[in-house]
Symmetry: C2
Subunit: 295 residues, 2 copies
């Protein structure tokens, strides 16, 4: 079976390579020639445009930065729909706004093209070792039809509801992760300013109700002032912005998310957008007058 | 050995009874005669005042609502210091402001009385079955001296640093718990308003970076609209107010905590102060126009 793959960035490239390793033929396309060459060297064919890729296959996977890029690649000039035959399946694995997924799916349906939204969590390391968590929205039968292909790229693939539900789930995940990180950063900054060793507090509370995967993963990074990504602040800003837009559209105010987003915008403005999102501790260092390296 | 126990509320009463069960003699005092009678029926002696209790023992445990009550019981008229001999040990197991612990300890030291702050987490069920998590601040040797007595009431007792460090640790715990609850409530409200089943989202994300003890414990309560405490909103407001006061005093702004506290104040004003703190979901139901029972 030949699979189209469009978008060969940090995530898309290892995902496409995992499809090749699993024995699938892949025809790929990306804006960046060098990325195409890299995946071709691993055994893929090169398409000349998104439309060209779509014309050669029954299934196209997209892995793109955000909603506008997915709209352009699917619906735009030289895009997937231009080359698609009726019955084509698109799996959009980008993390985008759920309402954008719904709009794109509706436009696809007019041409007999079916779409699933299937964003992932786990980042580059899990893209490389094919252990991504994949959250899927769309028709359940279609999900079952492509599940084996998803599991070539991920460790799990969960159907979360109708089209957009994958991205809604991803946004919920990103809200909770951002706020759990901020909670640890806010609490540990207080602890430090109050003259108490954060590592003792960490040991005292991690086993109780305050315990979280975020605390276990990020508190040690904060205590070491090590903000090597991991998941970058700038990408988390994108997700929180999509969450806030979605909240406004469906009538669900997100006051804590709005505040966490502004904290991350502060980091971005300070030049730390490329840091791991645990760098929220830098925000608290800044507002509490703590010297850099002591946060 | 005879131990003084002052403050026989929901927490203090089962803690005093556990000391009795372990074979300690207990002399107790509380503002409420009925509570004294109850603990006396379990084998304790009754003191006539805090000073009277202190005059009979080498170790007094206090379990009181907040900083002002502890100041009054230790330093006030008819209080512990009035009856204390030099060398008396006070273990204050109340959850109060760390700076209050430091002030009280300093006043005690002038009379040769030593104090540990040793707040607990776990609530009434863990007070009853003696599995409280006890966070201790103060002299390390003194902590080691009384650790066995603490472990009659708790499942763990961790030394967190100098006097006040127990309460600082408790505040960090309460900040993180409040914000992790609010994070789940905020994200799950968005999910519901976006037309996605929260239980599918819960299953999809609980195993990843968003996972937390709070999510596992509280998301099911929110999905069932079951807010039976557990830990009451009004008590959490007290802890967050102490955290904010402490933050202001040590120069550590707590913007997310301030917002979560205002959300809890909204619940209090709406008559939900006696609900479990997972009722933060009610706040989001309110601001998103969701009908009660659907939150």
């Amino acid at each position: 079976m030949k699979i189209g793959f469009i978008g060969l960035g940090i995530m898309g490239k290892p995902m496409a390579k995992n499809l090749l390793k699993a024995g699938y033929n892949v025809v790929c396309y990306s804006r960046t020639k060098k990325d195409i060459d890299d995946v071709v060297a691993a055994g893929a064919e090169a398409g000349t445009s998104s439309a060209d890729v779509a014309s050669q296959v029954d299934l196209v996977i997209t892995m793109l930065p955000n909603s506008p890029e997915v709209k352009s690649v699917v619906l735009g000039e030289g895009g997937i729909l231009e080359g698609a035959r009726e019955g084509l399946i698109i799996i959009d694995m980008s993390s985008i706004a759920p309402l954008a997924s719904q709009e794109i799916a509706a436009a696809c349906a007019l041409k007999g093209v079916r779409l699933l939204d299937a964003p992932v969590s786990g980042g580059e390391p899990k893209a490389i070792d094919a252990s991504l968590a994949i959250m899927v929205g769309g028709d359940l039968d279609l999900f079952e039809e492509v599940k084996d292909i998803l599991l070539v790229m991920g460790g799990s693939a969960v159907h979360c509801g109708p089209i957009g539900a994958g991205n809604t789930t991803k946004l919920a995940n990103q809200i909770i992760v951002a706020l759990n990180i901020a909670a640890v950063a806010e609490a540990f900054t207080l602890v430090r300013k109050a003259g108490v060793d954060p590592s003792l507090v960490f040991d005292a509370i991690k086993g109780g109700l305050a315990g979280s995967t975020v605390m276990n993963a990020k508190a040690p990074m904060m205590m070491d002032s090590n903000y090597k990504p991991g998941f970058k602040v700038d990408l988390h800003i994108k997700d929180l912005a999509n969450a806030l837009d979605t909240g406004h559209q469906v009538g669900s105010p997100l006051p804590l998310t709005a505040l966490a987003r502004e904290m991350m915008e502060t980091l971005h403005a300070d030049g730390y957008g490329g840091d791991d999102h645990s760098a929220l501790a830098r925000y608290y260092a800044k507002v509490s007058g703590t010297k850099i390296g002591e946060e």
